[in-house]
Each structure stands twice: as C-alpha cells, then as structure tokens.
C-alpha cells in the first residue's frame, strides 16, 4: 500500500444558498480513504453526509458551493482543477452510485445504451467493442441473462437489478474510487445483502477505494473498514469500525447504537431502547459550542462555549479513533 491516501478530504466547507441566508451543510470535514478500503460516512438526514459525497464528486447542485478546504485525489487537489479536467476524472477514476436506481437511470434509453455511454464519453472503447464490454460488465455484476437485459429499458428491471446496472456503469472504467450514496436504502433486505456482497467482491477484485454513505449502522458493521460519524455538518467521531461500533466515544454515537435493538434483545426481558431526546436542530440555527449540546445527556457548561475538536480517545487512538467531544465516553487518549 502506498503511503499517500487515495482520497484526502481536508477541512471541507460546503454551503447552500437559502432564502434565509447561507447554510453550512458541511462544516470542516476531514477524512482519508486508502486504496481497497471502505470508509462509511454515517449519520441521519441533514447531517451533511450526502453533501460531503457530492462535494468530493463535484456534483453539487447550483445552490451549493464548496467554500473551503481541499479534496486531494492521488495527491492532486481536484477543487483547483479546471472543469474539463475534473469531468475527465469523473466516471473514469472516480465514480458514484446513488440511492434511487429508479431515478438515476434514463427511462427512455436501453440498459445497454446507457452503460455503453460511459465508454463513449471517455473514449475508452469503440462502438463494436463497447457491446462486448457492456455484456462483460453486466455479467460481472451478476445480471442474469445479460444479452436480453442489454436491450431492456429500466422499467423492465427490478430495483436490485437497476442498482446492479448502476454499479456496472460506475465500474465500467475501473475507477480507483467509488462513492456510494445509500446504495441499498431503497432495496429489500435480501437484495441489500446481494448488493453488499457484490460490492465487496468487486472491491477485492479491483482494489477500489469505497466511500459508502449510509444511515444504517448495521450496514456499517457489515461493510466498513473505517467509519466517520457526522452530526450537524461536522465529523463527531471516526476510527476503525470495531473501535467505533464496539467502543463508541461520542455521546451521539453511543445514543444511536443504543437506540437500535441488538439481536436477541426484546422488550419482554425488560430491555428499553435508548432515546435521543428532541430532534436535529435546523442548520439555520446558530449554536455556540458543540452542535449536539441540545440533545446530549452529558452536556456541561464548556459544551455551550467551545466547539470540541476531533481528539484521539482512549480506545483505539493508535488506529485513529477520535471524537469531537469534551467529555467522551472512556475518556481522551
């Protein structure tokens, strides 16, 4: 493994223009992804996880803008690249799959046509060669009967099948980095298991680095090597998957993990689920200090004054386990 990470996000700030002024959806996010590694960005709606992913891809809507930080891909800050060069990276070295395979595919073009486009745009295969390459890809993502599916339209495929087509398109040019934004959220659990299995297999084969955005901590446990937990546009905890999920340090991570029943837990043996009181404050609300203070069971005066910086915590510090909390569970390293 080379020393330099494949992807290095540093102090990323992304804002949205709204009628009530600019809103910081991503507020100083840093994370690294190595080759062949899966990093999960976990959090709830509005925490900034998808906006982080879109900022890395350069696919933000017009109302949003990256205002600060760096996104280094193989050491090059892609934010400073001319648009044409950045476009050249997308779909080739960097690829993305989305939550809704139903809306991400063009309904009036055949599957084969859409997948072949990826080669045409990047000039990576001629027309005749493209058909063979598309069929090989469809086979690789385990689409049964690929010759027939080549001429099918998206509505003729199931949700799981459409997500496989999206994965085929994303992997067409063997990208070094794949960004997957809640790719299994719209799918049934048996289909989710198929897609996760497929992503793991392809990663092993191609050595792709994966950024996997999800709200589901059980999916994180299944697929991640490392986890970044976000809340209110900031990273509140990060580290190796076992450290974060087995020894959570930030009260938010602790709260989220306790809010889900574990296998075998039932209310009949008196187990009560943990509740995180209240709800996520609107990003329009200015909060001095830690953004989690309004819901935190451990809140103290200092939390209302000083924004906590990510700092190594006792368990797993050597492997980069850190939390942005003045009073983390288990203490600071």
């Amino acid at each position: 493994m080379s020393a330099e990470p494949l992807l290095q996000v540093e102090g990323l700030v992304t804002t949205f223009k709204t009628s009530r002024g600019p809103v910081r959806a991503v507020d100083g996010v840093s994370l690294n992804v190595a080759r062949g590694q899966t990093v999960c960005i976990a959090g709830e709606s509005g925490c900034g996880k998808s906006v982080t992913a879109l900022s890395v891809m350069g696919l933000l809507p017009d109302s949003a803008q990256v205002e600060g930080g760096a996104v280094r891909f193989n050491g090059v800050d892609v934010l400073t690249l001319p648009p044409a060069e950045r476009r050249g990276l997308r779909g080739r070295k960097l690829a993305m799959i989305f939550q809704e395979p139903m809306t991400a595919l063009n309904p009036v073009l055949t599957i084969g046509h859409q997948v072949a486009e990826v080669f045409a745009i990047h000039g990576t295969a001629g027309r005749r060669e493209a058909r063979e390459k598309v069929l090989a890809l469809l086979r690789q993502v385990k689409i049964p009967d690929p010759e027939r599916r080549y001429d099918a339209y998206p509505h003729q495929l199931s949700g799981g099948m459409k997500q496989r087509v999206m994965i085929a398109m994303a992997l067409a040019n063997r990208p070094e980095l794949l960004i997957a934004d809640e790719p299994t959220t719209a799918l049934d659990v048996t289909i989710q298991a198929q897609v996760l299995h497929l992503l793991r297999e392809l990663q092993r084969e191609l050595g792709t680095g994966i950024v996997f955005v999800t709200h589901d901590l059980a999916v994180v446990a299944e697929i991640a090597d490392r986890v970044v937990v976000m809340y209110g546009g900031r990273v509140v905890e990060q580290g190796g998957v076992v450290d974060v999920l087995e020894h959570p340090a930030h009260p938010y991570t602790v709260g989220l993990l306790g809010a889900r029943p574990r296998p075998g837990q039932t209310r009949h043996d008196g187990h009560r689920l943990n509740v995180i009181p209240g709800s996520v404050p609107s990003p329009l609300v200015r909060i001095e200090g830690c953004r989690y203070q309004t819901r935190c069971p451990r809140v103290q005066a200092r939390c209302r004054e000083e924004v906590p910086a990510l700092a190594p915590v006792a368990q797993g510090a050597a492997d980069g386990h850190a939390a942005a909390c003045h009073f983390p569970e288990g203490g600071l390293a």
């Binding site: 709830e44 709606s45 049964p144 199931s158 799981g160 099948m161 049934d188 659990v189 048996t190 289909i191 989710q192 298991a193 198929q194 996760l196 299995h197 709200h215 589901d216 901590l217 059980a218 999916v219 994180v220 446990a221 299944e222 991640a224 998957v241 076992v242 999920l245 087995e246 709260g255 989220l256 993990l257 809010a259 889900r260 029943p261 574990r262 296998p263 075998g264 837990q265 039932t266 209310r267 009949h268 187990h271 009560r272 689920l273 943990n274 509740v275 995180i276 009181p277 709800s279 996520v280 819901r295």
Partner: protein, 324 residues
C-alpha cells in the same frame, strides 16, 4: 389460560383488478393476499414481516376493513365483519384503528392539528364542545406533545412529531387494536426509538393489541410476541417471536433473517445471499412460490402449493414447506 382473540383473518384473500387496453377492461386479477389466516390475541403484538410486494400492507388494510376480502373472513371479536350492517360495522371500526407509514402523506396539509384530531370524533358523532377539546388535549399529551401543537400545521412538525399525531388520531376512539403499517420506517434513526418506546408505553397503559407491519426485523424481534412471515401474498411461517428468531424453519425465513445486516462488525459472512428477485404476483410461480429462489427446491415444490401446518411439538410454530 385462554386469551381472547380480538382479530382474526381466516383464509383471507384480497384481489385487485388489473386494467389495461383502450377500454380499461379488466385483463387480469392480482392476488395481493392469498388465503391468509392470522390471529391477534388480546394484549398481543403480532408482527407481519416480508419484503416489498409480499402483501403485508394489503393484509393490514384488509384487517381494518379498508379493503373488502375477495375470499375468506375477517372476524373482529368473533363476529364476521361481512355479516354486519353499516351501523354495526361502524361501531366495530372504532375498535380497530390504523397508523400509516408515511406521516407526511397521512395528515391533511390544509388542516391544523386540532382539526385533524377532531375528525374521528366528528365521524363517529362523539364528544362535542369543551369535552371534545379536553379529549384532544389529552391525546396530544399522551403522545408526548404539548397543547400548543394543536394550532400548528402538519408542515410545521418534524417527521417524528407527525407520526405522534398519527398515533394520537388512531387512539382518539379508544380502540382495542391498532394496525401499525411501518410506523417507523419514514423516521430518522434517533427518532425511531422515541416513537417505538411510545408505542410500548401506550400498549401497556391501555392494554392495546397491535398488528405491527414491518420490514425491519430487528425491531420486530424486539417488539412482537408472534410473527407471521409473508412471501408473495402467503404466510410461509408463523411462530412466537422468540422461536422464530432463534430457529427459523422455512427456507425463506432463514434466508431473510440471514440477510439482516449484523450490527456486530466482522469481515466475513457465512451464508451466501439469496439469489434472484421476488417474482411479480401477476406471474406467480406454480407450486411453492418461493421455489425459484429456494436452495432446497425439489420436484414437488414446483408442482403443489405447500399448506401452512404445525411443525413443532407445542403446536405453535407453523410453516408452509414440503420439506419440513
């Protein structure tokens, strides 16, 4: 000890016409629920689980009388709903209320919360004036909101707050049974446990019985007493929750439980994921509808539909599989 049965589906089927062509004539019938028998006992939580299109929502809606059964019977407190006249049926519907999945779609956006909560009283001609207002205030407090929320519009509430209003509306008529159709799945993780704990508290406080429809198996294991697993319109296995999660017997239940992501991190999975997709109910396979995906399928699975029958000595676990 016999616990009274509150709600019972007996060989219940629900079919929908599929229309097509220029004249929108009926070209096929889609059987969304196919010969389902389930029983809800007093004080119990019955979980109905399965993947999209398995018929769980249709079954739930049929259980509150929103869809008339095309075959079989629905018994509420032992009385066949089909034999009742309009007035009697209306009385029964008070006892069986529903909470819908999407709290954004199930509340009228043009009515304030107070007006939304008044509807059940209006429909059934119950409590008026100051008494009604007092009942409505009591309802919002029961679900953990404050009387000032009554003057708000649905869009001013968060998803979790809206779902609490959905629960309050269902509670208004003091039902004995609530059919909860995926009541948590539109909510964020940190809000789900708030609403789930509320449901647990209300059940204990009022001795309610729930039909809990969900695709979230971890929550079903946590909450339910009995579970029915559906596949393509049929119940393939039903058992007390503890038995079902400890030792699922139907190959589909086994595959479904194995597909649930394990919250304990580790790298390798032991089981291979189930292959293929759920077939369209319009082209349901002959025989056992699970046979095209079943790793154990044999010749007879392709030929005859397996009956749901008892498979344990206590007579509590039932499965529809030829191989058991």
């Amino acid at each position: 000890m016999t616990v009274p049965v509150l709600l019972q589906a007996e060989g219940l089927s629900v079919e929908f016409p599929v229309r097509g062509g220029l004249l929108k004539r009926e070209i096929a019938r889609l059987r969304a629920v196919d010969n389902v028998s389930v029983t809800l006992r007093s004080g119990e939580v019955l979980g109905i689980v399965g993947e999209s299109g398995c018929g769980k929502t249709t079954l739930g809606r049929a259980m509150v009388g929103l869809y008339p059964p095309t075959a079989g019977r629905l018994l509420v407190e032992g009385r066949d709903v089909a034999t009742l006249d309009e007035a009697q049926r209306r009385l029964l519907t008070r006892d069986v209320q529903m909470v819908f999945q999407d709290p954004f779609a199930s509340l009228n956006p043009r009515k304030r919360i107070r007006q939304i909560l008044e509807v059940p009283f209006e429909v059934h001609g119950l409590a008026s004036g100051a008494e009604r207002e007092a009942r409505i205030r009591e309802l919002v407090e029961l679900v953990g909101l404050a009387p000032e929320h009554l003057d708000r519009w649905p869009h001013e509430l968060s998803g979790g707050q809206r779902q609490r209003i959905g629960v309050a509306r269902a509670l208004a008529l003091q039902p004995r049974v609530m059919v909860l159709d995926e009541p948590l799945s539109a909510l964020d993780m940190s809000i789900q446990s708030q609403v789930l704990n509320l449901l647990v508290d209300l059940q204990q406080r009022f001795g309610l019985s729930y039909v809990f429809i969900s695709h979230d198996l971890s929550i079903v294991e946590y909450l339910c007493d009995t579970v029915a697993v559906m596949y393509l319109g049929r119940v393939v296995e039903t058992a007390p929750a503890a038995a079902l999660f400890a030792a699922p017997r139907h190959p589909y239940t086994q595959a479904l439980l194995a597909a649930v992501p394990d919250p304990v991190p580790r790298r390798e999975r032991v089981t291979r994921p189930l292959e293929g997709d759920v077939p369209s109910p319009l082209q349901a396979p002959a025989g056992c509808s699970f046979h095209p995906r079943c790793p154990l399928a044999q010749a007879r699975c392709r030929e005859s539909v397996p009956e749901l029958r008892v498979i344990d000595t206590a007579g509590l676990q039932r499965a529809a599989c030829h191989l058991l």
